[in-house]
Amino acid sequence: MNRNQLQNNLAMTVTLIMGSMLFATLFLGYAVYRSSALMWPPLGIQKVSLVLPFLSTLVILASSWFMYQGRLKLENGNLTKAMVDVNLALALGSIFMIGQCYLWFYLKSTGIFLTTSGIFGSILYGFTWIHAFHMIFGILSLVYLRFAIKRNNSNILQTTVNVEKFWHFLGVVWIVMFLTIFVL
């Protein structure tokens, strides 16, 4: 591993630790709210249907998979095929975001509101918003990566590895979110 790679890997690791601490704090909050609540979901609120979040999980998993495939192909020097995979990952990431917007409308239609549904609504909207905000950065970095591959930048593999790590991180956070605030 040369020094440039080491620097990039270290920086990405520190960045992911920072992201993990941010979301860990949110989940700590969730654990506190959940364990101190008398009943969950609180009285008068129905559990959210799992269909949409589950589909979102599948989409984001598939997106991560294509990102991984893309990096493998890039390692073998196959830029054209890698491009297809990165494009697919980007498309699936965007579909996930559309799904999230749909989820927010759906929540509203089932009577879960941001301001009047107490902590349940706060968690559902607040946490998914913060995740979606990070997704925007993820998608932007994928768009950047697309053009970097197209121009065949010098250290394209390093960029891809960094973007891939961040993209997987967002996927993992979503899965934890799906399991805690939707399934449990």
């Binding site: 941010l22 709210y33 941001l114 301001t115 607040g126």
Partner: protein, 576 residues
Amino acid sequence: MSGGYNEIHPEPTTFWSTYIISFDHKVIAKQFLWYGIFFLGLGGIMALLIRWTLAYPGVPVPVLGSLLFSDSGGVVPPDTYSMLFTMHGTIMIFYAITPILIGAFGNYCIPLQIGARDMAFPMLNMLSFWFAFLSGLVLIISLCLPLGAAAGGWTSYPTLSTLIGSPGAGQTLWCVAIFLFGVSSTMGAVNYVTTVITLRAPGMGYFDMPLTIWGLWLTAILNAIFVPVLGAGVLLLILDRVMGTTFFLAGASATSGSGDPVLFQHVFWIFGHPEVYILILPAWGIVSDLLSFFSRKPAFGAKATALAMTSVSILSTLVYGHHMFTTQMSPLLTQSFMTLTMTISIPSAIFFANWLGTIWKGSIRFDSPMLFSLGVVFVFGLGGLTGLHLGTVTTDLYLHDTYFVVGHFHYTMAASVLLGGFAGIYFWFPKMFGKMMNETMAKIHFWGTMIPLNGIFFGMLMVGYGGMHRRIYNPFVYESLQRLIPINSMITTSAILMGAFQIVFVINFLWSLKNGAKAVSNPWNVGTLEWTIPSPPVHHNYDEIPVVKCGPHELGNPNLKNGRDFQYQTEELVEA
């Protein structure tokens, strides 16, 4: 892993790229220094206004009063008083100490002392400063709002900081400013951690790094881990204030599940306790180095000092509960937190003993950086000892939220860090600007700071022990506290004196910038890498990357034959 990829960046040519959006770590360090000194002045003026109000309640503030509080005839109004102590804390911690100790010294010393040409990510470094700048701008704007700036204490506990307690936009802007500052800090942290690991000069192992770098490196690690925790906290607070969520609002409706104000305290202190070490670790590092340099002796137990600082950093993550003993925590938890807190005294005692061991029988030179370092040893000792009273549940229940706490954390965080920062400024000023500071003025500044400083903070310990609460506009409405008025006026007099002596520093700083004697490349006769190159260093620091052959504290070696009592890190260790 060391050596190799350390390229020379092209020198900037325009004014804009040299001084404004500079990628050069030395320029960014200076930007942070000016930024920090500006806010230090602002926070200091706020402190004086607070002190005036406490010593002479209802008396108009001289000079500033008629300018700032014309509506109340020059008296600080109660709501403004809350705003003042909130902003004083926020500014001093995030906008004065952090930029000077971490921003300025971190940026300046890390590449120079490890023999690198720049940080690992120069552009990130530049962004880090400008995010800090933006954050400072938001904070200053919040001071000018019609309802005033944040007034819920620097800790911003809900419900004081929710819309119920602080209806104005000031608190929201406070949250935004802190979030932006967190972004800036974490950008810096990524850079520092990576730079120290990858860009050390060939031959420089971790224990060959100066202890300053150890302090800054540990600080950066703690920053990277814990600043995002506060980030999440203020993000939820912003959502509560702007979007109407109920994360920190309790009792809105029990059936729909209510939020939890105490959760914010947990989140805040999970960040907040490491934060106090984030602030003090660079000062510890600087002092550990300077004590050795000016005693002309190797640092006693340098390895143990580095490891002790590391253990304090690790332990600091496990003790946050001692800030919350009075929040109806279970006794099992309070006792665990108390025990863990007491454990911190062990590594602290180790490096403190090492400091004393370093100066023991040294040929001490009382130059201004040394005076300030010795000042740190004294005030940090007092601060550390008073911490024991607050870490113990039984005494903390009595002393909680009194001026004893204020005295304690000012001794540790304010006095130690301030004196450590001054030591650093006096020490590295020749390298930074190529000019020497005036030594006589520096010594006047030291004694003019050190004596009133103890008057202020020891006085605070006394009134706190006497039962005076923090954050009360006029404590003397309580008859039992009226006997504390004389001590309070003593504190205020000391504060005004100390403030006045800071003018000496500012004059010395500005005068030396222009008229100071030209600095030689190694005015203090020490051997760390930054002193092997001219003052100020050239744009790319090192024409050739140095090769390190010995530790940073090789002073007073009896085997040295060349008339020097120290050797550079680039020289082979002289043995008998």
